[in-house]
């Protein structure tokens, strides 16, 4: 389905650029992969989190004696039982955010519905459930605040004593106010995005036990094993006594980036000294797990008559919910990318994260850079409409290019293929269809985006990977990487195979263990191909460099003439028979005391950001892409049918094209669910429905196939010139659909999701205005 644009390559790759099936795929189609909930140990207990029923209250009393007395209950823990009842993670180094700690279990105050207040371990899940019902909590309701703009008003109820404004970022360059005043045309727009759920099909889960030497070991579905020190602190244990193993996840999308079951599981294991399993119910996950931030976006865009952007002011308010989690980071990413892939000489972006008594929001694929696309790409269409230009012409006039300066003041130093992506996506759609009946209207829309890959550079990010040549010529690869299902582990094997010529089937991959694998820094921020991919490449090259002189000596050849392929080292351009097998080479290295194991570490660039001026270093690099869609709107019902959809992204170099296509198709589909149906409705802090049945996830028949165009500029900062592609494709769909609906009907829906009710109301309002 994808048409892949392959640039002239300087060297031919054997494995990179192919789409082999990997170890994890085989296990997955067999059904043999053991996920986090699938671990069984003798005497296993069932753990349960007891959650607050109200969003904002003082806990006047909690009676747990009846629960403790229930036969089959082994432990009931409350806040008083937690050695260090605080989660204060990853401070950002004083860049202006409030320091607010989150209790592991709420002690005297609850701040959102579903906040954990007690823990139970019992011999069956059903007994744990019964015990939870026997816990009697007396709440004194407090006035809450559920709307972030209301929370910013003077006199609003305080979610935390320190204040409701968690962080306020500014990114500014030039003089936006003066440039707007001088602009030929100023276009204003306000956009609202909604709260959504990750809805990974595998709910939060894990099993914990006490292992040799009293090490509390958690085997959990997590993107980040680096929470281990935080968990050890909660338990009052040295870090050496707390081990986290990540399973292959049944999806994560950012929702398993913060801790989920880990601290609760660890506490129950620590208290009972028995193995404990904890699986969150789907409904519990919908109620209380972290969500995507709803944003309120206000744009003022100043342009010249020819379509050139001269200035943009953006104001963003994000609902952080009751605790910080990653909101400061999400709002920074939003602030940095709020003008999109365009040259804007004068900018003023402000992004604020605000506490409310809603469930906390945090990481979700796209991480703030996704929501803003709904703003800047509708602004671009509005500019085109005001100036009488085509939407494409306005964008082509303003696209960033390599060497251009972005709002943070940084210069882009890799290719920007945004325009190429747009042209390719539009071409892929072909001729638009005709309306299928009266009252139906067809429209085409598109949206271009930029998404960072890699962490903010001031975190001094790094990742390590260990590769060894075994006695039989196979490889062992160890990495602390965690695997969401996007092939994070498999990509590392593919990179090692490329460099060392070992067939994939002979590479053992061991990942995600906080005590046994070298730290890789967590799988989030589209960082792992970039970070751990470069680390694996470094380790493989170091190993190759060590083997080369030994092989040259044995073969009586010049090192530069040797190639590694098919599990052998041989002279270039000689027949398959001449050469040395890697097993023999390993033995020769042993005799010569030449090391056959290497640790590769990749250090990302560093830099500083000045929050006062809003200038400085931000992200390592960006992935650019464009999506285009044809929709048909039924003006009688407000129903939007997506007729055709194309997505193009510059991935630099596709290490595994099939997986790249899968990321783009899956990301686009998730983004289309966000555009057209998904929403967690919260009413004064109460989640309206915790049923998955009420949450409109797209099924196989809801939407058309996403046609993928993989663009390979060859310029990315990952291995072999790759860019990250995990997050980028979720950014474009909402604006693409909104723009297509506007093209079809002349009516712009500025609030997500674009439901039939909302579109119909907008159509009626427009008809009313016309009369």
């Amino acid at each position: 389905m994808a048409e892949t644009e392959v640039p002239a390559r300087q060297e031919a790759y054997r494995v990179v650029g192919q789409s082999p099936s990997h170890h994890d795929f085989v296990d997955k189609v067999e059904g043999s992969l053991l996920y986090a909930a699938d671990w069984q140990l003798p005497g296993l207990l069932h753990g349960k989190v007891v959650r607050a029923e109200v969003p904002c209250a003082r806990i006047a009393g909690m009676e747990v004696s009846a629960a403790r007395a229930l036969p089959g209950v082994v432990a009931v823990l409350t806040a008083a039982d937690v050695p260090w009842n605080q989660v204060l993670e990853r401070p950002t180094g004083g860049l202006g955010e409030l320091a607010v700690a989150m209790p592991v279990l709420a002690a005297d105050r609850v701040r959102y519905q579903g906040e954990p207040i007690a823990l139970i371990a019992a011999i069956t899940a059903q007994i744990a459930e019964q015990a939870a019902e026997l816990i009697d909590v007396e709440y004194d309701d407090l006035p809450g605040v559920f709307d972030p703009e209301r929370a910013l008003e003077p006199g609003a109820p305080l979610v935390h004593d320190q204040g409701n404004l968690l962080v306020s970022w500014i990114i500014a360059r030039g003089d936006a106010a003066a440039a707007l005043a001088a602009a030929d045309v100023v276009v204003e727009g306000e956009y609202r995005t909604q709260r959504v759920e990750h809805a990974y099909l595998e709910p939060e889960a894990g099993v914990g036990w006490v292992d040799t030497s009293g090490v509390i070991t958690l085997r959990v579905s997590t993107q980040v094993i680096e929470h281990a020190p935080t968990i050890a602190t909660i338990l009052g244990l040295p870090q050496s006594k707390l081990r986290v193993i990540s399973t292959y996840m049944g999806g994560g999308f950012g929702g398993k980036e913060d801790m989920t079951v880990e601290p609760y599981l660890a506490l129950l294991v620590w208290r009972t000294r028995r193995p404990v399993r904890m699986v969150w119910e789907r409904q519990e996950s919908i109620m209380a797990s972290t969500k995507r931030h709803p944003f309120i976006l206000r744009y003022r865009t100043g342009v010249q008559r020819d379509g050139s952007i001269v200035a943009q002011e953006v104001d963003i308010v994000g609902d952080a919910g009751a605790y910080p989690y990653l909101s400061p980071r999400v709002l920074f990413a939003a602030c940095a990318t709020a003008s999109g892939p365009y040259r804007v000489p004068n900018v003023h972006h402000r992004a604020r994260a605000v506490f409310t008594n809603n469930a906390p929001t945090s990481a979700f694929r796209g991480f703030g850079a996704m929501q803003v696309t709904f703003g800047y790409e509708q602004q671009m269409d509005r500019v085109a409409e005001r100036l009488g230009l085509t939407p494409q012409a306005v964008r082509e006039r303003n696209f960033l290019d390599k060497g251009d300066t972005i709002p943070t003041g940084e210069r882009l130093d890799t290719a920007v293929a945004a325009g190429q992506c747009l042209r390719r996506a539009l071409a892929a759609l072909g001729e638009p269809a005709r309306p299928s009946g009266p009252g139906r209207r067809i429209g085409r829309g598109f949206a271009v985006n930029m998404q960072p890959y890699g962490r903010t550079v001031w975190f001094h990010d790094r990742a390590s990977c260990w590769i060894s040549l075994e006695a039989d010529g196979s490889l062992l690869l160890r990495s602390g990487i965690t695997d969401l299902g996007a092939g994070q582990a498999a990509s590392l094997a593919q990179i090692a195979s490329e460099v060392l010529g070992v067939p994939l089937g002979e590479i053992g991959v061991h990942i995600g263990d906080s005590q046994l694998t070298p730290p890789a820094g967590g799988t989030f921020a589209t960082r792992q191909l970039y970070m751990s991919g470069n680390a694996a490449l470094a380790a493989a090259r170091a190993l190759r460099a060590g083997l080369l002189p030994v092989a040259a000596e044995l073969l009586g050849a010049v090192p530069d003439d040797l190639v590694f392929e098919d599990g052998m080292v041989r002279e270039r351009d000689t027949g398959a028979g001449r050469g040395i097998r890697l097993a023999e080479l390993a033995a020769a290295c042993q005799q010569r005391s030449v090391p056959t194991a290497h640790l590769g570490t990749w250090y990302a660039g560093t830099g500083t950001f000045d929050p006062a001026t809003g200038q400085g270093a931000s992200f390592p690099d960006y992935t650019f892409g464009a999506h285009a869609a044809d929709v048909e709107v039924d003006t009688e019902t407000g129903q939007v049918r997506v007729l055709g959809y194309a997505a193009a992204h510059d991935v630099g170099r596709a290490i595994n094209p099939l997986r790249v296509e899968g990321q783009i198709q899956g990301g686009a589909y998730q983004g289309l669910g966000y555009a057209l149906g998904e929403e967690i409705v919260v009413d004064d802090g109460q989640v309206a429905s915790t049923l998955l049945a009420s949450y409109l996830l797209p099924n196989a028949a809801d939407l058309p196939d996403v046609r993928v165009i993989v663009v390979e500029s060859g310029e990315g900062k990952g291995p072999f010139g790759a860019r990250g592609i995990g997050e980028p494709p979720i950014g474009n769909p909402a604006a693409t659909i909104a723009n297509a609906v506007a093209a079809a009907t002349g009516v712009r829906v500025t609030q997500l999701p674009i439901t039939p009710e909302r579109l119909l109301a907008a159509l009626d309002a427009a008809a009313g205005d016309a009369r």
Partner: protein
């Protein structure tokens, strides 16, 4: 709750005769996983919405979370591990593998079973028919295209194997 309230159920799982003592309230899903060790049948929602706990009950796909174990007494069940002998892949599984139809893999067993059941009824389904039949199996990773590609490819290959008139 005392063990006296447990009932004996007899099942055939992937061709093997199994017996289990279960409480009347226990779902088929829980019994398959925790009593019989079939972890390839997975909990995703408990509402019968997501399809990750799909098993074939007398040949038809059913959500294991919605059926009580006692209701399945005497039935023949197939999980994904029953599609092919241990260590082998069913050609449909091979098509999933080749087409990259699994990402996180959590929905894959249920998806395979629903597709397999469809192919028993309709060996050469259209892409639209496959879409409609798979609506009860949610996938959050792939956007479904590669799953549809895999099922189509299997059907085409099967038709070729049987002389092109499938």
């Amino acid at each position: 709750m005392s063990d006296q309230s447990k009932q004996r159920v007899t099942l055939t799982v992937n061709g093997e005769h199994r017996e289990a003592w279960v409480f009347p309230h226990e779902s088929l899903l829980d019994v398959l996983r925790d009593v019989l060790g079939h972890y390839e049948v997975r909990y995703g929602c408990g509402e019968g919405v997501c399809g990750t706990c799909t098993v074939l009950v007398d040949g038809e796909p059913v959500s294991g979370c919605l059926l009580l174990a006692v209701q399945a007494d005497g039935c023949s069940l197939v999980t994904v591990r029953g599609l092919a002998p241990a260590g082998d892949l069913h050609p449909l599984q091979a098509c999933f593998l080749r087409n990259g139809a699994a990402q996180c893999g959590f929905c894959t067993p249920g998806m395979l079973l629903t597709a397999w059941a469809l192919l028993q009824h309709d060996p050469r389904p259209s892409r639209e028919r496959i879409r409609r039949e798979l609506v009860g199996n949610l996938c959050r990773c792939t956007g479904y295209s590669k799953i549809l590609d895999a099922v189509e490819e299997y059907a085409a290959e099967a038709a070729e194997r049987t002389g092109g008139h499938g």
